[in-house]
């Protein structure tokens, strides 16, 4: 039987296995070497692979992320860590104007097998510049695959697929799922992980729980809030289907639409900002398809406010089990 691993170990194991398999894979980032990654996604790699393949960088995100493009153009398969997704603004040009577009702009001549690994999410009072999700923003611009694991098993399989993919992949891990001890994490996120490498195809949503009355579509840490709510609602006789999208690009529209066809009710739960983001896209996907709904589509998302510092304020803003339960009950009326 497979061991249970916390998500951070699943990620570093996946990277290590791919680095063993393929000498072109290497990793760069701030504090990813000696420190092992602030959120432990790269722990042990330096010891195993040395300073040439595990490169601690200066705080020069444009240089080393742009550097990934140059290295890829010469056949390397770079992984880079952007320590918090919140910092994207110092390197976004290299990410979205170049890495994301190079394949298209070169008419398919240049491949960009680059993985950008980054930490997302709040819930521990790290305030406005260290708590965001922002995957919706990256999903809006073409050319980036968007991967968002919610548990250790997926984290490993999706990381291996991301590294093997010949396209640029943004890989978003939620700090509150990593199981790093000093940061709370749902115990369920640390699930069974096979020792050997395996792939999980990008673009396949995962139905985590089947149900008849309503479909909850979500990603990342909110998965657990949804599952907990579903469990409690079940006791009250309401049966919820919970879908983990796992990737936003490609987006598994069919799985979502088919589920809503069955349940007739749709709720999106999203820790990213509410407006002009993931929640709107999923609602549109479903309503465009012409599925008939028993209740207007709903969303519980992060409000359109910067993330406040104070615990009472942040809790108020975050999607959680209670909000999901309440909303579903409204939808069942």
């Amino acid at each position: 039987m497979a061991r249970k691993l916390p998500m951070h170990k699943a990620i570093s194991e996946a990277i290590a296995q791919e680095m063993e398999r393929d000498p072109e894979v290497f990793i760069m980032g701030e504090d990813i070497g000696t420190y092992g990654g602030i959120f432990s996604a790269t722990t042990g790699l330096l010891q195993q692979f040395g300073v040439e393949r595990v490169r601690d960088t200066p705080i020069s995100e444009s240089a080393f992320i742009g550097g990934a493009l140059g290295a890829a153009s010469k056949g390397m398969r770079p992984i880079v860590e952007l320590m918090f997704v919140d910092f994207f603004g110092v390197a976004m040009d290299q990410i979205y104007n170049h890495i994301a577009k190079a394949h298209y702009m070169s008419g398919g001549n240049l491949r960009m097998p680059v993985v950008i690994l980054t930490a997302i999410g709040g819930g521990y009072s790290d305030a406005a510049q260290h708590s965001q999700c922002l995957y919706g923003l990256f999903a809006h611009v073409p050319g980036l695959k968007i991967v968002i694991p919610s548990n250790a098993y997926d984290a490993k399989g999706l990381m291996i697929s991301s590294i093997r993919d010949d396209n640029p992949v943004m890989y978003f891990f939620h700090k509150g799922l990593m199981g790093i001890g000093w940061m709370p994490s749902p115990p369920e996120a640390a699930n069974e992980v096979p020792e050997e490498p395996y792939e999980i195809p990008l673009g396949k949503a995962n139905i985590l729980r089947e149900g008849q009355d309503a479909t909850v579509v979500t990603v990342s840490r909110s998965i657990y809030e949804a599952l907990w709510a579903a469990e409690e609602l079940n006791q009250e006789g309401v049966s919820i289907e919970v879908i983990d999208l796992r990737t936003l690009v490609p987006l598994d529209r069919d799985t979502v639409i088919n589920s809503v066809k069955k349940t007739g009710r749709l709720l999106i739960v999203d820790e990213d900002y509410r407006s002009y983001g993931m929640s709107g896209e999923i609602i549109s996907t479903v309503t465009e398809s012409g599925v008939s709904l028993k209740f207007p589509p709903q969303r519980i998302a992060y409000p359109d406010i910067p993330v406040p510092y104070s615990r009472v304020l942040e809790s108020f803003a975050l999607p959680d089990k209670a909000k999901i339960k309440d909303r579903i009950k409204e939808m069942m009326r």
């Binding site: 701030e30 000696t34 200066p58 444009s62 009072s125 790290d126 940061m183 510092y309 104070s310 304020l313």
Partner: protein, 334 residues
């Protein structure tokens, strides 16, 4: 003689400030772990989230800020308490902010990395290298308004490798703005030592790339910092343009609280502590008979009392109402 008199005051102010910063930081460094033991959980306790303390780096802040007026601006970094205190930020409100309270500078919305006190023109943020352009902007305002306030851009030696450092130095030099760039070289950017991040040994040398003065100064000698900064501030006020000062210092604590610090040899820290800038100043002042043992004791007592009151105030302040989270995105509603 008048000059000496003034200098004595300044010496005492500097000592007082440095001691205040140290006491404050070490106090927060204790409180931080409340509610986080035995299992350390960053989200728990009266001060949740990241906490970057500045113990050991007091002289950089004090030596610079002692030259400033309230209308001068300081733009700090993620590690900003020492500059905030030296700049005269309201300490009760600042502490309440760090405790997430309604009485905080930002009513609990900002937190430790986002301290704003418009009364003394202090601000800071959690993005490395972001301070430089913002301080340049203050310089633009000074010039356009025909005023002689100056602007301090603080950054770590790690921050000096961000693109903003270059862009800002160039712009400030080009437009001859009253901006002083202060690089705190505390040897580390989290776990990355300066030699592994910076292609030359001193950022102050990089001043030449912009045709402005650059000085490297010992950050355990507050007087030295003070003098170098005084010169730079004078230049800036007189409309002679920007300067770059790199202060050699060392951080005594982890990068943030909870940092296991496996990356740095214990001996380095021990050695640095032997050059504690506060002890150095204390000895200096005593040696030069500028201050007596009793005065020192009195200052320490006063500071300890003040810090206690400040903490008390923060602890006893109420939290904001949850739904206040939705306010203040825009001014004037919406």
């Amino acid at each position: 003689m008048e000059r000496e008199e003034i200098r004595r005051d300044e010496f005492v102010s500097m000592y007082r400030l440095m001691f205040k910063i140290r006491t404050y930081e070490e106090t927060l460094g204790q409180i931080y772990y409340e509610g986080k033991t035995p299992l350390f959980d960053i989200s728990k306790g009266p001060i949740p989230g990241e906490l970057h303390l500045s113990s050991g780096q007091e002289a950089a802040a004090v030596g610079v800020c002692i030259n400033l007026r309230p209308d001068d601006a300081v733009v700090g970094t993620h590690r900003a308490h020492h500059f905030a205190i030296a700049k005269g930020v309201d300490l009760k409100k600042m502490t309440s902010e760090i405790f997430g309270k309604k009485t905080g500078l930002s009513k609990g919305k900002g937190g430790h990395m986002h301290l704003f006190d418009t009364n003394v023109n202090f601000s800071c943020s959690g993005i490395v290298g972001a301070s430089f352009p913002q301080a340049v902007g203050v310089g633009i305002a000074a010039k356009m308004q025909g005023k002689d306030f100056v602007s301090i851009a603080v950054g770590g030696e790690g921050a000096a490798n961000q693109g903003t450092f270059h862009e800002s130095l160039n712009l400030a030099a080009l437009w001859k703005l009253p901006v002083i760039f202060v690089i705190e070289d505390n040897a580390w950017a989290i776990s990355v030592p300066k030699e592994k991040s910076t292609s030359i040994s001193r950022n102050s040398e990089r001043a030449k790339a912009y045709g402005i003065p650059g000085v490297y100064v010992d950050g355990n000698d507050v007087i030295g910092v003070y003098e170098v900064a005084r010169e730079a501030v004078k230049r800036a006020r007189a409309g002679e343009g920007p300067s770059l000062i790199e202060v050699k210092t060392y951080r005594f604590r982890g990068h943030f609280e909870g940092d296991p610090q496996l990356y740095r040899p214990k001996e380095d820290l021990e050695m640095a502590k032997q050059n504690d800038p506060i002890l150095k100043l204390e000895e200096d002042l005593k040696g030069k008979n500028i201050i007596t043992e009793e005065e020192i004791s009195r200052i320490k007592e006063e500071i300890e009392t003040e810090i206690k009151e400040v903490i008390e105030f923060a602890r006893n302040s109420p939290y904001p109402e949850p739904q206040e989270a939705l306010e203040d995105v825009f001014t004037g509603g919406d």
